[in-house]
Structures are given as structure tokens and as C-alpha cells.
């Protein structure tokens, strides 16, 4: 019995057909049509491409004694495999990603700063609330603190 991991046609290890179809229609001129068979053949090629890049990137990472495949490894792989013309657009993607990450971090820090209180004030406020809770508990009939 063929396991799912081996089946190329299994949706899990393939690209979603509808997505690929949409992308194809964004590429082809209006007077041409991609047949369903051709789209499926294209998907196979895409999966092969991912495998090729992954393997090459992995080899490069291992060569640098790195356990994690990073963007730079992918870039080197593309260079070695003859896809140097992909590198510039990819550097833009990496830059955008860094910007997004940076914004996310700033937002997290901002929450603390946005409270408008210093750390001491926040601690005092916390003690107040605990005090209130404690007295409420005592009022409700002597539950042990």
C-alpha cells in the first residue's frame, strides 16, 4: 500500500490545484488556455523544483555546519543551479519580511509603553488590586487566603 508521503498526487505533498490555476491565469495571455493535464504537469514540475532547491540549500547549509536552512543558503543554491536571475526579487522579499518582523516587535514593546505608567506604578496598581480581591474574599465568609 502506497503511503501518503510517497504519492505525488496526494494533496498534502502537492500544490493546491485551484491556486496554481489562478496563478497560471495571471500569467498567460488572454487568447491561450492551459489544459487541466498541463496544469497537473506543471504542478509536478513545481514540486520537483522545490525538491531541487531544498536539497541544494540543505547541502550548502550542511557545508557551513548549520542545522537550519536560511535564506542565504537558498540564494547560494539558486546561484549554483543557474537561477541567478531570481536572486534580486528574492532579496526584496527578504527585506519586506525583515520590515514586517521589526514592526511586530515594536508593536509588542509599545503595549507596555502605551500603558503610560512606570514599572513602579504598575506594581503598586497590582498590589491595590490584590488588596481589593483579598478583602472581597474575606467579606464572603472567611475563605482562607
Amino acid at each position: 500500500m502506497m503511503s501518503d508521503r510517497e504519492a505525488l498526487s496526494s494533496d498534502d505533498l502537492s500544490l493546491p490545484k485551484a491556486t496554481v490555476q489562478k496563478i497560471v491565469s495571471e500569467i498567460i495571455p488572454p487568447d491561450l488556455v492551459f489544459s487541466r493535464e498541463t496544469r497537473d504537469a506543471l504542478i509536478e514540475c513545481c514540486v520537483e523544483f522545490i525538491g531541487l532547491i531544498s536539497t541544494q540549500s540543505n547541502d550548502i547549509a550542511e557545508g557551513e555546519a548549520k542545522k537550519t536552512i536560511a535564506s542565504e543558503h537558498v540564494i547560494k543554491a539558486l546561484q549554483e543551479l543557474g537561477f541567478a536571475d531570481y536572486i534580486e526579487p528574492i532579496r526584496e522579499v527578504i527585506q519586506e519580511h525583515k520590515e514586517t518582523q521589526k514592526q511586530g516587535r515594536e508593536r509588542k514593546v509599545g503595549k507596555f509603553e502605551a500603558s503610560g505608567m512606570t514599572e513602579e506604578e504598575l506594581l503598586r496598581k497590582q498590589e491595590e488590586l490584590f488588596g481589593l480581591a483579598r478583602s472581597k474574599l474575606n467579606q464572603e465568609g472567611g475563605a482562607s487566603a
Binding site: 508521503r5 498534502d12 505533498l13 502537492s14 500544490l15 493546491p16 491556486t19 496554481v20 489562478k22 496563478i23 497560471v24 495571471e26 500569467i27 498567460i28 495571455p29 487568447d31 491561450l32 488556455v33 492551459f34 489544459s35 493535464e37 498541463t38 504537469a41 506543471l42 509536478e44 514540475c45 513545481c46 514540486v47 520537483e48 523544483f49 522545490i50 525538491g51 531541487l52 532547491i53 531544498s54 536539497t55 540549500s57 540543505n58 542545522k67 537550519t68 536552512i69 536560511a70 535564506s71 543558503h73 537558498v74 540564494i75 539558486l78 543551479l81 543557474g82 537561477f83 541567478a84 536571475d85 531570481y86 526579487p89 528574492i90 522579499v93 527578504i94 519580511h97
Partner: protein, 131 residues
């Protein structure tokens, strides 16, 4: 008419400019899954599947455009697996796909040389092109 007016299919290793702007995105999580389906592949940095997705997009643009060229050269309106196969076989960058496309039928030969200069794909050609 001089040589620069001839319709010449793009050579490999060059993305046809201007690049189409693709709005649809590949599912990044799925790409990561496909990468890691290979047991040799271990951890990948957060940006890596994003980068591979972009490379994949460019690859697809290139392969689809070349397949379309192959269809046009044969006066076809439907791009068939045979056209895709021919796109692979005629592009050095896609040598790694030669085995993958082996099972598809061969496209018919394009009779004669490239289309007449200035007429564009399929227009005004008196020569018969067998599909």
C-alpha cells in the same frame, strides 16, 4: 526588416521582462511541508519557505511563458503537456525536469524556420503548420 524584428523565443536564464505581477500567493505552510517531506531536510528558518515560494513563483512564470511560446510556434490555442515538455527540453535551466516530462508526448516539429519577421505569432502565415 532587420534581425531585431524577428520573433525569437526567449533564451534560457532570462526572466521575460516586464514580470507579470502575481496577486495570488502560494500557501507558505504547504511549501514548508513539501520541503520537509524529504527526511534529509531538517529545520528551516522562518523566512526560508517565503523565499522558496518567491523562487517558485518566478520559476512558474518562466515555465508557463515558455510553454505558451511553444504553443504559439505551433499555432495552438490550447497549451498542452507536449508544449510544456518542449519548453523544458529547450531550456537549459530546466534540465532537471527532463525525466519528469519524459512521459508526455513529444510536440510536433515546427515546420520551417521561425515565423516571418514582423508578422507575429500565427498571423498572416501562408505556410501550413501541422498540429
Amino acid at each position: 526588416m532587420d534581425a531585431s524584428d524577428e520573433y525569437a523565443p526567449p533564451t534560457s536564464n532570462q526572466l521575460q521582462q516586464p514580470l507579470p505581477i502575481i496577486k495570488t500567493r502560494f500557501p507558505v505552510a504547504r511549501i514548508k511541508k513539501i520541503m520537509q517531506a524529504d527526511d534529509d531536510i531538517g529545520k528551516v528558518a522562518q523566512a526560508t519557505p517565503l523565499v522558496v515560494a518567491k523562487a517558485l513563483e518566478l520559476f512558474m512564470i518562466s515555465l508557463v511563458q515558455e510553454s505558451c511560446n511553444q504553443a504559439r510556434m505551433r499555432n495552438a490555442k490550447r497549451v498542452s503537456p507536449a508544449h510544456l515538455k518542449q519548453a523544458v527540453l529547450s531550456t537549459e535551466q530546466f534540465d532537471f525536469l527532463a525525466e519528469t516530462v519524459g512521459k508526455y508526448p513529444d510536440a510536433v516539429a515546427v515546420s520551417g524556420e521561425k515565423p516571418e519577421p514582423g508578422t507575429g505569432p500565427g498571423r498572416g502565415r501562408r505556410r501550413k503548420v501541422v498540429e
